[in-house]
Amino acid sequence: ELKVEQNPLFLSMQEGKNYTIYCNYSTTSDRLYWYRQDPGKSLESLFVLLSNGAVKQEGRLMASLDTKARLSTLHITAAVHDLSATYFCAGTSGSARQLTFGSGTQLTVLP
């Protein structure tokens, strides 16, 4: 059974600073997803990582995947207030592609 652990659970950071969110998973997961959720909203897809060493970047967010370490990271560069949200990582298990989610990281970017 796939388990996904995400940390930290809560993250407050100053604008302009850098930080990384970590996502560890327990067994083989051939896709790793990152989502953003704003309060009261649904999930917005950020990245899908498919292979070892995959790196994707969009604006101030960069995601990477190390399948050997069973680790994905979401790096935030020069944070701005608009990035405040909850970020989830999720892996896939089974042939049906259902997602197992991490606990989420509630990010607050302070002015």
Binding site: A90, R97, S103
Partner: protein, 114 residues
Amino acid sequence: SAVISQKPSRDICQRGTSLTIQCQVDSQVTMMFWYRQQPGQSLTLIATANQGSEATYESGFVIDKFPISRPNLTFSTLTVSNMSPEDSSIYLCSAGSRLKREAFFGQGTRLTVV
């Protein structure tokens, strides 16, 4: 990318009643799933909606409580039956395919049971 329409977006229901949530996808997808997000929590998979057959439920979820239908490739419903306040959550529909890379989510249904 698939567009998923889910309704209702929110509802307040009396305990003991049932609510059916609808999920419509704008293109044919192989997979449809239903998730629950309890207040302040992450998402938990309820079941995989199988076209034309019974849904596949995860541990802790049963058909009598969460009956699911999927009559075709683009539509599914989730019913929350005999509701109690503990059922107050956001329920989300998700869709994807084995070939396509992304898994998309509907806007969610925020359910409050009083």
